[in-house]
């Protein structure tokens, strides 16, 4: 960074901030390689410093956290809202199509969670059939659901799809994607499921409730980061 003057440094940080804001709209994780290619270019060496400052700026100006993903998505970033979004904060608006998709997503996430955090794709499709959603038919609201689940949501890290090796026909396991852990909690999903069933007490769901408690204990042990969910 010492080879860059202050003014140039500022410009790069601001350009990265804008780049992140614009690209995050697609909800696809933003790759370090792309940031270097399109924004930093010859100054790629400055990436660590620039990304750190850009993260600070996003927090300060917009209340948004920059989160680096892990494991197979390491080296890519998503933006997470620091503000708690509840039914009163209708300051954000989405299109009707978006809202419907979100509704379906919550259903899918619920199915996965209630089944012990993983389901096979065939189990998922069976469960969704009960909701009138079929992988082979174009849904009048959600459209091509197969594409939505296996491609769009997988790419956006809402779902994590893993094909099991040595299986024929191939078995695909579906889990929550890393983004989900940033945007909501197991407790919230359990509360949602309870509500639908008209049950007040979430501890009614023994194993799932134990899962919630275990996760919350684990999170409590970790040092708090700027990317807390709620």
């Amino acid at each position: 960074m010492s080879s860059l003057e202050a003014g140039e440094r500022e410009r790069l940080i601001n350009d990265v901030v804008k780049y992140l804001l614009i690209l995050d709209q697609k909800k696809i994780p933003i790759k370090k390689a792309d940031i270097n290619k399109h924004v930093l270019k010859e100054s790629s060496k400055a990436f660590p410093h620039v990304i750190r400052e850009a993260a600070k700026r996003l927090e300060h100006l917009f209340g948004i956290s920059l989160v680096e993903l892990e494991d197979k998505h390491k080296g890519s970033f998503i933006l997470v809202n620091n503000l708690e979004l509840d039914k009163d904060s209708y300051h954000l608006t989405w299109s009707e199509e978006e809202e419907c998709k979100q509704g379906l997503l919550i259903v899918v996430l619920s199915i996965i969670f209630m089944s012990g955090n993983v389901v096979t794709d065939s189990q998922l499709w069976s469960a969704l059939k009960k909701f009138g959603v079929d992988q082979d038919q174009t849904h009048e609201v959600f459209g091509n659901v197969k594409k939505l689940i296996t491609q769009e949501w997988a790419r956006q890290c809402y779902l994590e799809l893993t094909t099991l090796p040595n299986t024929d026909p191939p078995i695909v396991e579906v889990r929550w994607g890393q983004r989900v852990h940033q945007e909501t909690t197991k407790r919230k999903i359990l509360e949602y499921v309870s509500k639908i069933h008209g049950i007040e007490d979430v501890s009614h769901w023994r194993s799932q409730f134990a899962d919630v408690q275990k996760s919350e204990r684990a999170e409590g042990d970790q040092p708090t980061t700027s990317s807390q969910t709620t």
């Binding site: 690209l23 209340g63 809202n81 209708y90 300051h91």
Partner: protein, 268 residues
Amino acid sequence: MTQNQLYIIVEMRRKDTRHTMQKLKSSHHMFIQAFMTRGVMNGTEVFNLLKLSCEKYGDYDEASRTQLLLDYCHTINSNISMLGLEIKKGKDETNGTGYYGLVNTVESNITLLASQYTENELQFFKMLLEEFVKSESGTIGSIEALGISEKIPKKMSKTDANQLLDRFEREKWIGKSKEGRMYLGIRGVMEMEQYIFEMFEDFAVRCNMCKKLCIQGARCMNGECETRMHFHCAQRVFRGKSEKRCPECRGPWQESSQTRQADQVEME
């Protein structure tokens, strides 16, 4: 325009160093996040947002809300100016309604659209812009608008073009009158002003009164005089005057029902 609204415009233009780099709170974040998703909001919506944000994360006093709005915009603007962003106030060219929007002040504003539209769709929009700016009335008919689908690099079906135009309208980039004529909407006017002055400098005109870009407006009826004013600006200038005279050449000024010969041909 009330005294209050005039005050807001003057205040927002003045650089107020009190607010420079003041730390932003969650209420500010909520306020600006709404702009990021909605693009533009009218006066009522903005005050509702202000109330929501302040009640949730701070204090809200209905009586001083005008000053509070000013403070919020100033504080946020002084902080986000480094990104070339600004919360600006603009007016709808068809009715003079005030709107607030988050706009790019620096580079070509096309980049902001870039993430939400394909390259081909952007080309469509750029051509639409050109049509609006070059037209006499600042409006074009739907047939002309659809015709653009043939001129873009990758031809688009009329159905797709229609859908695209609907989307532009929904997001307030363009507007549509009762008669089905299309014009540059409030968001387009606010965001694209700089781009239009740069790209179409021979055609882009400033309103004689407010000095901002004027695409739809009334004009001097004197063929040689190019003076134009927004309808709502002209209303203010001629208030209480029995005769409407061009502020530049003193020639006769366009009455709302009158159109110059050029406009007549275009409308048919």
